[in-house]
Structure formats: structure tokens, C-alpha cells
Amino acid sequence: MDAFLGQVFTGLSVGSVLILIALGLTFTFGQMNVINMAHGEFIMAGAYTAFVLQDLIGTDTSLVVALPVAFVIAGTLGLLLELVLVRRLYGRPLDTLLVTWGVSLMLQQLARDIFGAPNVQVRAPGWLGGSLHLAGATLSYSRIFIIGLVVVSVVGIWVFLTRLPQGARMRAVMQNRQLASCSGLKTHSIDRLTFFIGSGLAGIAGVALTLLGSTGPTLGTNYIVDAFLVVVVGGLGQLRGAVIAAVALGLLNAFVEFSTEASIARVAVFVAIVAFLQFRPQGLFVMKSRALT
């Protein structure tokens, strides 16, 4: 029983980081109709932000400071990507995929040049040191912190999307870009905002990941496939869908891993997802609409 609870908890904390990664990814996916392969490197940028800040200002405060800083740094990287490259490639998904993949490799190399190839360790602040003992299971404070962080972020995104005019504009462009433009919405500046926020979320996820393991140049690639699966299963641009799919995937991963070996577990998860998509190829929820031409 205690091992079961512990496993649920591990699944939830990993799943909740996946939510952040996948939400960000689904924002930019809605824009480009293709996965942003560099999204993983925005996660990495967030993680290294936490690493740099811990030396600059000390581990007690660095984690909390790193969250907004990583959001801005990763967001700015995303903004630059949109501004310099992606903007020229809308409507050409294959080219976009290749270009973002290229950027992903460049950013990994850049990280190697700056921080070295070996992984670095971000130390958790002292106040996250202990763990909570509940019904015989051990729930570490860092994982509780991550879950809390993600809950706050998701609520924040939800409020932004549903209550603020900028959020409504973003939803409109994601749901029907051509109609949005024909209705007077400045799609180009909304695209940039979408990229900034979507990539910024990856930065926050990166900071959270430093609490779960070490940080290296390929940190992002470990998560990008799972995040992509969450986007596909959850349905494009769907907050609800992404949340449900990410938690489900996190739990599924944790349990299958618990009962079998890791590599077989991966295969089992893929099989489950392929089976799911046979029944609902559009994902849990849908939102795209007819285009004008």
C-alpha cells in the first residue's frame, strides 16, 4: 500500500511537469501545426537558469527567483525563434520541423560550450529538504512543491486564457487563424505573444526538473517525446485535454515502470497511446475549424 501511494505520487509529480511542458508545446503547436523541436531546449535553458542563479544568489532564494527569470529567458528564446525563423515558414510544416530541430541541436551545442558536457547539479534549497510521511508513504517536499507550482501555473494560464483580452485573442488565433486575421486581430503580434508564453512555460518546467534530477545539455530531449504524446492525446490547444493526458501519462509511466523494466514500460505506454488514437484520432478534445480557402 505505501509503495503504491509513493508510486502514485511520483507519477503525479512527473505528470505535472509534463503538463507545463505540454501546455507550452500545444501553444506553439497551434501556431505552426508542427512540433517545435527546440521546445526541449527551452526547458534546458530554464534548468541552467536555476543552476547559474544558485551560484549568484545562493540556494535559499535562487529557486524562487529562477522561476520568473527562467520564464523570461526561455520566453525570449522562443520569441526570437518565431521572429527570426518560424515566421517565414508558416504553412510549411516540414521545413518548420527541420528548422526547429536544427535550432535544438545548436542550442544543445551552445549549452555544452558554456556549461560543459557533463551534467551539473542544482541543489534544492534547505527548506525543501525534508519529506512528509503519510499513510506509510514518503512524499518529498520537492515533489509537493512541484505539484503546487504546476497547479498555480495551470490556474494562472486558465485565468489568462479565459479572463484577459490577450488570452481571448490567443485562443481565437489558435482556433481559426485566417478568420482571426480577417476579423482584424493582429495575428503577427499575437503569434509572438503565444511563442513567448509557450516557451516561457518550458523554462518554468526546466526549473522544476532541477528538483528531480541533474541538468545537462540533453535534458529537454528526454521530455519532448512524452510532451508530444500529451499534446496528441489531449487534443490540440486544449488546457483540459493536456492536463488529463499528462497526469494519465505520468501515472501510466510510473506504474508500468514499477511492474516491469523501464524499456518494456516505454513500449507498453506507446502501445496504449496508439490504441487510444485508434478510437479518438482527434485526441480527447478538438477545436480546429474550417479554413477560408
Binding site: P165, R171, A172, Q175, G184, K186, T187, A291, T293
Partner: protein
């Protein structure tokens, strides 16, 4: 007010419009007619900037619309109700109108109130997701969404296509009203000939991507018209 000069439009290697020209005067209800597939929607998409013409120019109030994006054309005073009547399916009716008003420099609360006034049916649907509306309701929302930007030229692509007759009348009345009471210029694509003939002051008829007739609708010979429009 709107001047289309020698427009050529192609999809890839296939040219659809050939040297199309027309002049839409201010305060006019101008009708574009023609059979299915002759290029009417293509013409409107090119005027709106959804498609890039391969030749020719479009002027609005003397300004060359050139390479302007659709949203810049809306800012210049155009509004477009596409034939597909696309929507923002997950936004409610109210959100759909608000998001457009908020993005517009001319639109305001009053414009929204006026648009809803024009289609009272929408008032009961304000909280409903746009993707769940019936065809007629979606058509009314599409027109309302265009109107809240307070356009000087309203472009409508077959607003009554596939709609139940009772709502067709409501939409017709609304369009006729807009033109006569506010003096808004209207560029209308319409297959429904009686409607077009009754309302339109001027017109062009397209056939296979070319203008085959143009002028004052009153001068139209009924027999010639039928020949051009019927299969």
C-alpha cells in the same frame, strides 16, 4: 470606394481570375453574381488579402491595399463574412464578438449592442459556444462579428446559402437595412437571384473567372441574366 483593377488570381499553376475589374461606389449595394465555381469567393479572398493576386491592384478609398495583411485591411475599413462562416468554435458568442471589438480601433460596446439588436436571435445565445450554433445562427454571428468593427465596406459571401427560409428573410432585411439606413457600402456575392436583383444597385457577373456583364442592375435583361446564371 473599392476599386479592383485588372486582377489575376491563381492557385499554384491554375489561374482562376482573369483581368477582373470593378468599381464599388460609396453607399452602394454591389452584387457579384455567377454560377458555382466561377471564382466569386476567390475574388473576395483576394480583395481581403487572404490570397495574393498574381496581377492587378485593389484600392480602397484611394489607398492601394497592395500587400496588406487581412487585419490591416480590417483596420482600413473593410469587413468580411466568408462563405464558410468559420467561427472560433470554443469561444462563446459573446467572447467571439468581444475579441473582435477589443482588437478594433473603431468598434465599441455600442457597436456590439447594435449588432445584437440587428439579430435579436443572438441575444439568447450569448453564452453558447460558437461551434455549437446552427447554420442560420452561425451566419448571423458571422455578420454580427463583421459589423462590430464598424466597417465602411461590408463584404458578404453568399450569406443565405444553405439556410432555412425564415432566417433568410431576417438576414436579407438586415442587409437591406444596413445599406439604406446607415449608408454602409456592401459588396455581396449572392446566388439567390431575386434577392440580388431586388437589392443591388450595381453588379458584375463572372463566368469562368472573367467579367461577362457589369452595370446597373435595373438595366439587366432578365432573359440574359438567367442564361448567365443558370446551368
Amino acid at each position: 470606394m473599392l476599386s479592383v483593377q485588372n486582377l489575376d488570381v491563381a492557385y499554384g499553376p491554375t489561374q482562376i481570375l482573369f483581368d477582373v475589374s470593378m468599381e464599388v461606389p460609396a453607399n452602394e449595394l454591389f452584387c457579384v453574381m455567377g454560377r458555382n465555381g466561377v471564382g466569386k469567393t476567390t475574388l473576395l479572398n483576394a480583395i481581403m488579402g487572404v490570397l495574393r493576386p498574381t496581377g492587378g491592384r485593389v484600392f480602397f478609398e484611394g489607398r492601394d491595399l497592395g500587400k496588406m495583411h487581412p487585419y490591416q485591411r480590417v483596420k482600413a475599413g473593410l469587413a468580411y463574412v466568408p462563405q464558410t462562416r468559420g467561427s472560433f468554435p470554443q469561444l462563446t458568442v459573446l467572447e467571439s464578438l468581444k475579441v473582435v471589438v477589443d482588437a478594433s480601433d473603431r468598434g465599441d460596446r455600442d457597436a456590439m449592442e447594435d449588432a445584437i439588436e440587428l439579430f435579436p436571435r443572438l441575444r439568447k445565445l450569448l453564452g453558447r459556444k460558437a461551434g455549437l450554433l446552427s447554420g442560420g445562427e452561425a451566419a448571423q454571428l458571422a455578420i454580427a462579428r463583421a459589423l462590430v468593427t464598424k466597417p465602411r465596406l461590408l463584404i458578404l459571401d453568399e450569406p443565405t446559402e444553405g439556410i432555412q427560409p425564415s432566417i433568410i428573410l431576417e438576414i436579407e432585411d438586415a442587409i437591406a437595412n444596413l445599406n439604406s439606413s446607415t449608408g454602409m457600402s456592401i459588396l455581396l456575392v449572392e446566388q439567390y437571384m431575386e434577392f440580388a436583383l431586388r437589392l443591388a444597385g450595381k453588379h458584375i457577373v463572372l463566368d469562368a473567372g472573367e467579367v461577362v456583364s457589369s452595370g446597373a442592375t435595373a438595366d439587366l435583361d432578365d432573359a440574359r441574366m438567367r442564361e448567365l446564371l443558370l446551368l
